[in-house]
Amino acid sequence: MAVGRETTNEATGAGREDGRQPPYLYPDYVATRLRAPKKPLIILPRTLSDTTGPAYGSGPIGELDDDLTRQHSGEPLGERIIVTGRVLDGDGRPVRGGLIEIWQANAAGRYTHKLDQHPAPLDPNFSGAGRCLTDEEGRYRFVTIKPGAYPWKNHENAWRPAHIHLSLFGSAFRSRLITQMYFPGDPLFEHDPIFQSVRDEKAQQRMISSFDLETTRPEWALGYRFDIVLEGREATPMENHR
């Protein structure tokens, strides 16, 4: 591929990704209309600037950072769940010691955020933010509560399917990913333009966690499995060097 050649690829993202990644411009998601770039993207040749990347995006992990149900004096309301899975690079190798940051609404569908005006109750025992590091096999695990669906103003009677936001670095600048994990069988998928912005059905399935009886703990919490694959082949193995 020619160095830095301007692509014929539409900034809409059509073409190269075949619907496996969302485009920048997806008019049904109204906020993309004024935020999607219109000029063609420039292909960036692979150099050390992007095959390297922050090993840890954040400082030390606190003991309770991976358990969102124990960050306050009491227990949050809602359905306690365990979310676990593996993080792999584009070659299928585990991403070791990689930071995962998550955030989500509470069981009633309300975020602890000053701009969330949804008239659902806040939960004084739930902040909805966590982080953890992947282990030697790329595995991660969070304990949290199942988030509620919530309304937004994208269109008349618009509701987001329940989801957990995840942010990951992987081993290089190229592998940075922010995504959302959904729950199986949600009737809101077909009405949600953010979910639908990923057009390929198999790719959609890769955003949906699966119920996992093995992860489920008797008398305590349902388990959901969500594996994550980051972009980037020829990736450098992650090392704990900080």
Binding site: A31, R35, I42, P54, G92, H165, S167, R176
Partner: protein, 188 residues
């Protein structure tokens, strides 16, 4: 067979408690003798400021070494106190800022050197995947002219958006997502 990547989804408007709970916009102390300050505003296609974006930077240290195992150029010193990663939210006026060190030049494709630059990711509600751009330095005219990435951008106006302005010692790098003066963005 290689596994297929997990699709990107928007960061949404409610990430602050999780991603900006601590200030990571100062990679060095403002008192550092070589500290530089970078400021900018994010604008949308209507020219309105974007108050709910997050900007991340990734860069080499002042010797041009990345703090990462893939950069094995042992002759260049690593700086224990400099990770090269920074993160800033935008405020109600759409402004972000970083205090950092100017990176050294780094190797490019085909053995050519690249002019000093910062890698930049932009996340926001309305961006279903991040935008990637670069910040180059206004006092590096010669290096910028021969930079393999910059010099390959034929559209002069677009190329110019990647070089920060110098406003009395503060570097200004505005990010225009769309429309007149749109910033150059990259496909990785």
């Amino acid at each position: 067979m290689s596994p297929e990547p997990t699709p990107s989804q928007t960061v949404g408007p409610f990430f602050h408690n999780a991603l900006l709970d601590e200030d990571r916009s100062e990679l060095v102390s403002p008192d550092h003798p070589e500290a530089i300050r970078i400021e900018g505003t994010v604008y949308d296609g209507a020219g309105e400021v974007v108050p709910d974006a997050m900007v991340e930077i990734w860069q080499a240290n002042s010797s041009g070494r990345y703090d990462h195992p893939a950069d094995d150029r042992e002759d260049l010193p690593l700086d224990e106190d400099f990770s090269g990663f920074g993160r800033s939210g935008t405020d109600v006026d759409g402004k972000f800022s970083f205090v950092t060190l100017k990176p050294g030049p780094v190797p490019g494709p085909d053995g050519r050197m690249q002019a000093p630059h910062l890698m930049v990711s932009v996340f926001a509600r309305g961006l279903l995947k991040r935008l990637v751009t670069r910040i180059y330095f206004p006092d590096e005219e010669e290096a910028n002219a021969s930079d393999p990435v910059l010099s390959s951008i034929e559209d002069r106006e677009l190329r110019r958006t990647l070089v920060a302005g110098d406003e009395g010692g503060v570097l200004r790098f505005d990010i225009r997502l769309q429309g007149e003066g749109q910033t150059a963005f990259f496909a990785l």
